[in-house]
Amino acid sequence: MNDLKLPAIDYAALAPMLILFGVACLGVLVEAAVPRARRGLVQVPLGLLGLVAALVFVIAEAGTRKRTAGEAIAIDGPALFLQGAIIVLGVVALLLIAERSLEPGGPFVAQPARPVGSEADRSQAAGEGGATEAYPLVMFALAGMLLFVAANDLLTMFVALEVFSLPLYLLCALARRRRLLSQEAALKYFLLGAYASAFFLFGIALIYGYAGAITFSRIHQAVTAGTGSGVLLFAGLALLAIGLLFKAAAAPFHVWTPDVYQGAPTPITSLMAACTKTAAFGALLRVLYVGFPGATWDFRPIIGVIAILTMLVGAVLAVTQTDMKRLLAYSSIANAGYLLVGVLAMTPEGVSSTLFYLVAYGFTVIAAFAVVTLVRDADGEATHLSRWAGLGRRSPLFAGVFTFLLLAFAGIPLTSGFTSKFAVFGAAFGGGQVWLVVAGVVTSMLLAFPYLRVVVMMWLSEPGESTPSVSVPGAFTSAALVIGVLVTLLLGVLPGPLLDLTTRAGDFVR
């Protein structure tokens, strides 16, 4: 028993994750020790500092290609890039989460367990300071995501999946306004998320049965050797893919997305749309490119059909949406389809274009949700589409910003939406997936329609009695908005540097 070999652990490579977990734990202690009124003041700088420190370590590790902690974690180009992306997007989303000037007490409710409509609930709606537990929860979620994209075996991936999912379920339930919707969103997200992770886990079991191991390199060896039962392999791969596609919001596993995006507090929605999507596609890339490239010819047609279905569902259903957050949710579903097109190129360009797309989309979607948090009336955010009519007259600046973001979603040139779509379609074309490109181009043409409908409505309608006002954003929201819009523009006009970076970062370690 004494010759047990301890795994070598490269602490510098793990530092970003360790820092974030540490900050999250510190955040919990702050909740326990610091008086209520001052918790927010401590939590926000703590969170931001932690993220910055983690980012410093990610940058310092640039160029590393190794597996550590007994092959459980891979630190390579895609992992570092995705970790950096998640951290930066997390910072921007955290700015939205920390905004307290739009609504007295911030976007979260003080005591989520209080029955809706009770005396205590009415008093807390009136402006009691919101739950600061949100900050450690966000930190746990982000730390889980960092681990998720670096996971080099299926167990680590599963644990990371749960580590970032569980806080998100809770965060969904914390909205200050429309609490019934918020709770319902949390319940749906939770039940369906647990359901999907059960599929994922059974997939792990089958793959373990097939390959006799759970690290991606061993799985790859087993797949290329072609020994073992194909049934176990393919059923396992299918179930694994389902778990990941659920988080990525691909059809038909997208059903939770519109409901949850609509019900969750808007800053959390932006976190999910940007960071969760990045993490999910990061993991999907690793599973498909590192673990199962030997089965490319088998899974590509099937996931390709899913990609087309996803693009279609997102584009078609976005046409008749009447709620802004749901519209953005369907747009996010369609974008999952475009990302899948990039993933399925199964070439180095496929990896780099997908990475690029994730960053570009993340910034745009956070900025879009930031605008959603600004359009308010006495009851909180006014998300119904009809309420946005004539917004261009009332607030040309924010309507202009939102128009720009919508044009970016529609893939109009000179926005990041165009360059990123161009990159993934180009990669897929280069990978021989013409059918996916044609479907992608056609649906993106279709998808432009709902966006332009909103643009026309904002600019060409008269503001009515019910047109809500646009609140003056606080410093945090302004910062998030400016960052999101600038990056969207920059990546549309000058995408070269980031494309270079993704090209250099596109190499997985096996």
Binding site: L233, F429, V455
Partner: protein, 638 residues
């Protein structure tokens, strides 16, 4: 086409060509972002920026003449670079883009000035100028880009601006519908264009014009055909050509200056530009050329025939635009020397059609926005300047020598007769027929509007001439309509030679002079027929009872003649075409739009809100995915 195409780097004045795009773009941003603060002076800023761009365009044009290599490019920065693939944000100023720049900024400037007067009472004037400048900037990007991605960038930009401007009077449901239809039809074309770009990228690894031009001969003919057809579909979408015609006439719901600038002079000629720019692809495949020629010939006839049956002044002009662009497609499809002829016609058309639209706008301005030509008549006395300028543009479009339409259209007809085989007769006669029909419907329009008895609605007593700010552009455009063709038909093809290749003329199946005489003859016949039929107004309009009792007999006689000789078959043909257009193509587009909307509405119901039904859809999906994997594994699909 084995000579290599090379672009020289920009120096001196030409290195400032980015300003051409930047001026209107910055102005648009200022107008749209400043909001009401810019209401007072916004329209002047809009005019100024386009005027400045025109001056700069002129200077650049002269600078280019002094260059040895008349194709100058300016790579501003690297736009997209992924692996071996690289797209620059680059501009190209060569003879072809130079003439387009002058047309866009020159005619654009006049129309901007006109719009200051036309939109005076519209409270959205500042926004209007903002979109208008946005359009000019995008159009300049379209014609100045040095690769297909840049062209596409401008392509999307003009589409967006056009959509916003068509829907500008959103309160009219018809305007909103028209905007939607224009958008959808353009998207079909855009999708084809994007796929063509990817095809180029996948096959040649470059999308730069020089790179593609130098390597296009390495492509197999199947790929070239595919590429050309995709580009052609893109071009038909933007230019309102068959089969994507229907949006253009509906787009007339926008304000008249929009119709003049976007839907007559510039944007809709984008398709012609695309094909002329891609001449190396189209010349490489004769099947492709035949398709382009057929599209052009078919559209020019469709447009002309339907133009005969419309009573809305702007719709007649819109169908006329469709028909004239058909001539241009015919020209670019014929290849060789006809490329340049198509561009000449495009430029001449830019002048006289802009003049016609602005004249129509002036008439509407004086007649309380009446658009029905059966409700005009005798206006020449009341709006003299409009009458004269409109008349000159009318003579120009029907191709009467020595006005510009003659010099630009007649050579295309000749070129059609120069085809190698029997198709010479087919396309030559189609082009001749089109000329006759053009003369007919334009004369009808002119006579019914300005001459004959007054048939005004009761609320109009004194139609008035438009203010000078509107008439001055009219006069300038009329001068252009008269002179442009004659002045351009010689030098422009020579000027364009570096881009479009040397002039290689074939033998026409008829003598050149015979064709010229024939062309003039059909024009005169068409015009004369229309003059005879419509000099005393028209009876097809519901007239105030008793007003025309004395003339009734004569009118009836004309009607009978009219009906027997022309209208019966004409109406039949027109109805057939309108049916095809309304139910076929149009129906398809509306059908797609409706089915997307309806499908969306139905699919939405699947999102029941019950968590268990979501779980059901997930489980079903999971079973299908697992089953599909196993099916692939066991080769059940193979």
């Amino acid at each position: 086409m084995e000579h290599t195409v090379q672009f020289a780097p920009a120096t001196g004045l030409l290195s400032g060509m980015w300003l051409l795009v930047a001026l209107p773009a910055v102005s648009a941003a200022v107008l749209l972002l400043l909001g009401r603060r810019a209401d007072r002076w916004g329209h002047w800023l809009g005019c100024l920026s386009v005027g400045a761009a025109f001056v700069l365009g002129l200077l650049s044009f002269f600078a280019l003449r002094g260059q040895e290599n008349r194709a100058v490019q300016l790579n501003l920065w690297e736009f997209i670079s992924a692996g071996s693939f690289r797209v620059d944000f680059g501009l190209l100023f060569d003879p072809l883009s130079a003439v387009f720049v002058l047309l866009i900024t020159g005619v654009g400037f006049l129309i901007h000035v006109y719009a200051v007067g036309y939109m005076e009472h519209d409270e959205g004037r500042r926004r209007f100028f903002g979109y208008f400048n946005l359009f000019v900037a995008a159009m300049l990007v379209l014609v100045l880009g040095n690769n297909y991605v840049m062209t596409f960038l401008g392509w999307e930009g003009v589409g967006l601006a056009s959509y916003l401007l068509i829907s500008f009077w959103y309160v009219r449901p018809s305007a909103a519908t028209a905007g939607k239809k224009a958008f959808l039809m353009n998207r079909v074309g855009d999708a084809a264009f994007v796929i063509a770009i990817f095809l180029l990228f996948a096959q040649l690894g470059t999308v730069n014009f020089d790179g593609v031009a130098n390597q296009v001969h390495t492509l197999s003919s199947g790929v070239t055909l595919m590429l050309g057809l995709l580009l052609l579909l893109g071009a038909t979408g933007k230019s309102g050509q068959f089969p994507l015609t229907a949006w253009l006439p509906d787009a007339m719901e926008g304000p008249t200056p929009v119709s003049a600038l976007i839907h007559a002079a510039t944007m809709v000629t984008g398709g012609v530009y695309l094909i002329a720019r891609s001449n190396f692809i189209f010349t490489a495949n004769s099947t492709l050329q035949l398709v382009v020629v057929s599209v052009g010939a078919l559209t020019l006839l469709i447009g002309a025939i339907i133009g005969c049956a419309k009573d809305d002044i702007k719709r007649v002009l819109a169908w006329s635009t469709v028909s004239q662009i058909g001539y241009m497609f015919l020209g670019v499809g014929l290849g060789g020397a006809a490329y340049a002829l198509a561009i000449v016609h495009l430029l001449a058309h830019g002048f006289f059609k802009a003049g016609l639209f602005l004249g129509a706008g002036s008439v509407m301005h004086g007649m309380r926005d009446q658009v029905d030509i059966r409700r005009f008549g005798g206006l020449w006395k009341y709006m003299k300047i409009t009458w004269v300028t409109f008349g000159l543009a009318w003579l120009a479009i029907i191709g009467l020598p020595p006005l510009s339409g003659f010099f630009s259209k007649e050579p295309i007809i000749v070129a059609a007769f120069e085809r190698k085989d029997w198709t010479a007769w087919l396309f030559g006669i189609a082009a001749l027929l089109g000329a006759g029909l053009t003369a007919f419907y334009m004369t009808r329009l002119f006579m019914l509007t300005f001459h004959g008895p007054k048939r005004w609605t009761d609320d109009i007593e004194h139609p008035h001439e438009s203010p000078p700010i509107m008439t001055i552009p009219l006069v300038l455009l009329a001068v252009g309509s008269v002179a442009a063709g004659g002045l351009m038909v010689g030098p422009v093809p020579k000027w364009l030679t570096p881009v479009l290749g040397h002039e290689v003329r074939g033998e026409a199946v008829l003598a050149h002079s015979a064709i010229t005489i024939l062309a003039i003859a059909v024009t005169l016949i068409g015009a004369g027929l229309a003059y005879l039929l419509f000099r005393d107004g028209t009876a097809t309009a519901p007239q105030p009872a008793g007003a025309l009792v004395t003339a009734a007999r004569k009118n009836l006689y004309i009607d009978a003649f009219n009906e027997a000789v022309f209208e019966k078959p004409g109406i039949f043909l027109t109805r057939a075409l309108v049916f095809l257009d309304g139910k076929g193509i149009d129906g398809a587009v509306n059908g797609i739009a409706a089915s997307v909307g309806g499908g969306s509405g139905r699919l939405r119901r699947l999102q029941t809100g019950f968590v268990r039904s979501y779980a059901m859809s997930m489980l079903t999906g999971a079973l299908l995915v697992v089953a599909a994997f196993l099916a692939v594994q066991y080769g059940w699909f193979a």
